[in-house]
Assembly symmetry: C2
Homo-oligomer: 321 residues x 2
Amino acid sequence: MGRIAVTDGMSESAISKLEKLGHEVIVSHYEKSDLENGILSEFDAVVIRSATKISRNVLESLDSDTNRLKFIGRAGVGVDNIDIETATKMGIYVCNTPKASTQSVVELTLAHLFASVRHLARADRDLRTGIWSKKELKGTELRGKRLGLIGLGRIAKGVADISQYLGMEIHYFDPFIDKNNQYIKHQKIENLFDICTHISIHCNLTNDTEGLVNLDLINRMPKLDIDGIECGNHIVNCARGGIINEKDALIALNNGSLTSLALDVYEVEPSIGQDLLNHENFHGTPHIAASTKEAQNRIGIEMVDLIDEYFRGLKPSTTLN
Amino acid sequence: MGRIAVTDGMSESAISKLEKLGHEVIVSHYEKSDLENGILSEFDAVVIRSATKISRNVLESLDSDTNRLKFIGRAGVGVDNIDIETATKMGIYVCNTPKASTQSVVELTLAHLFASVRHLARADRDLRTGIWSKKELKGTELRGKRLGLIGLGRIAKGVADISQYLGMEIHYFDPFIDKNNQYIKHQKIENLFDICTHISIHCNLTNDTEGLVNLDLINRMPKLDIDGIECGNHIVNCARGGIINEKDALIALNNGSLTSLALDVYEVEPSIGQDLLNHENFHGTPHIAASTKEAQNRIGIEMVDLIDEYFRGLKPSTTLN
């Protein structure tokens, strides 16, 4: 069987299953310099999460004579840390585990939606410092509000489903979705921001979406709900950092056009601008949308199956190239 | 028309509506000493929230010759701050606005449920102090878990409805509910704690429920979910302080039998034990479950209707005595 590098960790049950299947598994994080010196040539497969970058340099450093690497597995969804084009040219499969973490990301998005309109983080901070800020913390309900989704993939649909059941009105912008569904489609992203007081981001990070949510769009948001209640404007991003322009978002928080901003992902992780971090109405988590026991278990199981497919000579079922 | 005291605030639209109906409205918070010196004798009606206590002393201090007070309106739900027995003897109506804040309390309960299993408050605290605690903040999903509800009134049913849709299995203990419903009823509260990893409190504070949730019950909780995943034990209380024994809850947080505790209400407000406040896995809000613009608007509208009923010689529709 094969030699497999696991560079950003994987569930123990998955590792032990791979070993039972006869593979040699090396769990070790490699520095950029090692990766760019062709260290992955010694492995048949590598399993990464988001911390390891498989750049063109990394791929082109693979030893042309002895390289064994033919499988890059992303334990998770986003593959913006892998140069798929170069991998394809070199005949290396790139696959991810797209379904395993869906529910966890849906639930963290809902957590941020529910928590940010009720000031949960500030409430907890104030209490701990002896401040009973009940009077300052009047919130608003989610029911009856318009939720605008950027992207309507698996995760967004999960969020839409629960939010609609709760009584929100669901709008979306997704140029790649033509199918009929029960939600309200907008052809232009501007129209989504014109009508929605609550926005949640669920698209990939691409050249088209980098910096997509900027001050121009935020300034279009209506602040008033369907009944004329001033619920303010709220944005959640549990997708990828960089889709929101953080500098613009901070300006909007400061001038009041944005009422709350809840982020799980950032332009540069883990370095976040201190002015944003210090803002009263910023709500942050450190890229933990898929960090649940359930998701990590499912990711491990799915990755073992993909590796097994590869070693049995099949094209792994979630191959992206 | 009448003279009405509003001692803990009310929405401006409700106050202006009362004035348009011809009433004189005095918005003023009174100290305990004033209340116990019969100051309410000068009013036909008083509208309170939770901060004003209408004790037996307050009621017995009403001037037996000149007293006009015949209506106590609680803008909200809980009436544990009103001596209803004495009010009844004195022929004073006590009414509340039971439906107006339901959705807001349901949503805050869900906010705490979603947030506490994903460590939202700690995540935000850590980020603000420059700590990227991604690795320490592995959470668990709500879907598939057993949620135990203490009490199955209006609010609990709202929580149950959404949570079941999300994929939780709903259990409850409520000796006052005999009706059939789609949830799993337990005759003994011990059985609820034996099976549920997530508990949410939705009963009144009475002699029977004071200190009800104690170390014995918490120690029964299973920590493992249906699939054997160690999701830990989680308790939310957005009902009334004192139903959970806070000293016991702190012991349970410290010894690990309780994984998270999310409280909106406390034994003594606003004084909360510093050890509890300092605990990493405590999640607090300062009694804001009904503090939304929507709930306060609806409470105001409902209270105006009740006062109007009273002045038209009717028994107000939500009279509790």
